[in-house]
């Protein structure tokens, strides 16, 4: 009995530690994504970017955080007070929940421990991600509605219709990957991409699903409300979009959660299409297991960079173009991709 209790408490401590580490890493990466975004924007626009706070401006996120926390926190008089507070809270909560099922490496052995580098290996991991992605819209909708401002309401309505539309194509492109790997677990999907073809091409799903990857990536841009799909916070039309009435750290939570979403989407793209913690030449021993997190974070950072690159390169869509792309191009394409994948599996075994 006591051995069982000891085992259970060891599991609880291990998982709590993993959750805490993931939480801190997520917040750190989100904070430094804001710095990265400004530096990337500056580079693409031939400027210097932030360079006052600390060497090369690397303390800029701390300065921004201090500013956000110390500004006046204003709640409009005619707003729905509790829902106004719930909105940003729900948004950042949902954004932080998604990382629980992403495998960051194989396992770590040492100091008498055998630790899975994943918070929870549920057998429906990819559906868990889809579920929380679909819940992400509530924070925006509640916040935008509770502000009692027509610009905020327009932003909220745009966000919800956009997210519903792009979730469909995203789910359909995921189905093709599930058809190939035969599992819904993200660890299973990542493990299925170990090894190489012909000795040098890594067995990543992106080579089997190029169309699916493009659809998924476009949908990820739309789901995270990033340019060129950032219509919900389109400054030229809607002042500030759904967060027009927000100030101080409530505004900070909305902006911060967007960067968390970008990090998580990049991690999911790396796991589902780019082999996760696998890279050519990996050997399933514990030493290489330690390399896993380095590899997946490198891939994730690359995709965060691509997100920023696209934001500072492409102009914003018009709203009807966005809906047209979602419903009349991406959904038929992803259904076609699903049929092709099914036919391919049927023919090639």
């Amino acid at each position: 009995m006591s051995a069982l209790l000891l085992f259970i408490s060891a599991v609880i401590i291990e998982k709590t530690a993993l959750v805490l580490v993931m939480f801190l890493i997520t917040l750190g990466i989100a904070a430094y994504s804001t710095y990265g975004e400004r530096k990337v924007a500056a580079f693409l626009q031939d400027r210097l970017g932030p360079d006052r706070a600390g060497p090369w401006g690397i303390l800029q996120p701390l300065a921004d955080g201090a500013k956000m926390f110390t500004k006046e926190d204003f709640i409009p008089k005619d707003s729905n007070k509790w829902l106004f507070i719930l909105g940003p809270g729900a948004f950042i909560f949902v954004a932080l929940m998604t990382s629980a099922v992403i495998p960051w490496g194989t396992y770590f052995t040492g100091f008498g421990l055998n630790v899975d580098l994943q918070v929870a290996d549920v057998n429906i991991g990819i559906l868990y991600v889809m579920g929380f992605v679909s819940l992400g819209v509530y924070g925006i909708m509640i916040g935008g509605w509770a502000s009692n401002n027509k610009y905020s309401l327009f932003g909220a309505i745009r966000a919800s219709s956009q997210m519903i539309s792009y979730e469909l194509a995203m789910g359909l492109s995921i189905i093709s990957v599930i058809l190939i790997t035969g599992t819904l677990s993200l660890r299973g999907i990542a493990d299925g991409q170990a090894g190489t073809w012909l000795g040098f091409i890594p067995q990543w799903n992106v080579f089997l699903q190029p169309l699916g990857f493009i659809i998924f990536f476009v949908c990820a841009l739309a789901e995270t409300n990033r340019a060129p799909f950032d219509l919900p916070e389109c400054e030229t039309e809607l002042v500030g979009g759904y967060h027009t009435e927000y100030s101080a750290m409530k505004l900070g939570s909305f902006l911060f959660a967007e960067y968390i979403n970008m990090f998580i989407s990049s991690a999911v793209i790396s796991t589902v299409y780019f082999g996760g913690y696998n890279f050519p030449g990996i050997d399933p021993s514990w030493l290489w297991g330690l390399m896993g997190p380095v590899v997946i974070f490198a891939k994730t950072f690359f995709f965060i960079f691509v997100f920023m690159w696209i934001r500072w390169t492409l102009p914003r869509f018009r709203y009807d173009q966005l809906m047209h792309l979602g419903w009349k191009s991406l959904i038929p394409l992803s259904i076609l991709n699903m049929l092709l994948t099914g036919a391919g599996i049927l023919c090639l075994g």
Binding site: N80, L83, V122, N123, I124, L127, Y128, M130, G131, S134, L135, V137, Y138, M141, I142, G144, W145, L153, A156, I157, S160, S161, M163, I164, E167, L184
Partner: protein, 166 residues
């Protein structure tokens, strides 16, 4: 342990369902209903039906309630503009839902034996087993449900395009 979890979830689902019916503001009602769906999804997880739990969240909380909230926001109902319903409507609603409750209680009264049998197959809710069962034992009802959805989709398109030439 799981008994306490069950009781907590049951309490939360009943409480939020009541709050959903009783709150005056329709947006609050929608949010309470979402909380109810989460509590019910928790019950599915306790029954080891993870797939059902997450699909419940994706479909109900992630899609249907978003549409509810979407419509409510477009209408932008508040206390001033909300149509006041007469007491006759309340009586009608109470009678209708009361008869539904009677039917449900009557149908579930003798079902304790059936529940005990299902509990033997503890992993029936996992996605592999569920898929196998859906495409072997229950393939006809499954396909008929698919046709039903197709009909609903066609109907929705027809309603959406009023001036369509038939």
């Amino acid at each position: 342990m799981s008994q306490y979890l069950f009781l907590t979830l049951a309490l939360v689902s009943v409480a939020t369902a009541l709050l959903m019916v009783l709150s005056r503001n329709p947006v609050h009602s929608v949010l309470y209903l979402i909380a109810t769906f989460f509590a019910i999804a928790g019950q599915y997880v306790l029954l080891n039906a993870q797939f059902l739990a997450i699909v419940h969240i994706i479909v109900y909380a992630g899609a249907i309630m978003v549409l509810f909230l979407f419509v409510l926001m477009l209408l932008n109902l508040n206390n001033a503009t909300e149509p006041q319903k007469s007491n006759a409507w309340k009586v009608t609603g109470a009678i209708a839902s009361g008869s539904l409750l009677l039917v449900m209680v009557g149908a579930l009264k003798g079902s304790s034996a059936a529940v005990a049998q299902v509990a033997h197959k503890a992993d029936v809710g996992l996605v592999q087993n569920l898929g196998r069962v859906l495409f072997t034992d229950f393939v006809v009802p499954f396909e008929i449900a698919g046709i039903l959805f197709l009909a609903a989709m066609v109907g929705a398109v027809l309603v959406g395009k009023r001036d369509i030439k038939l």
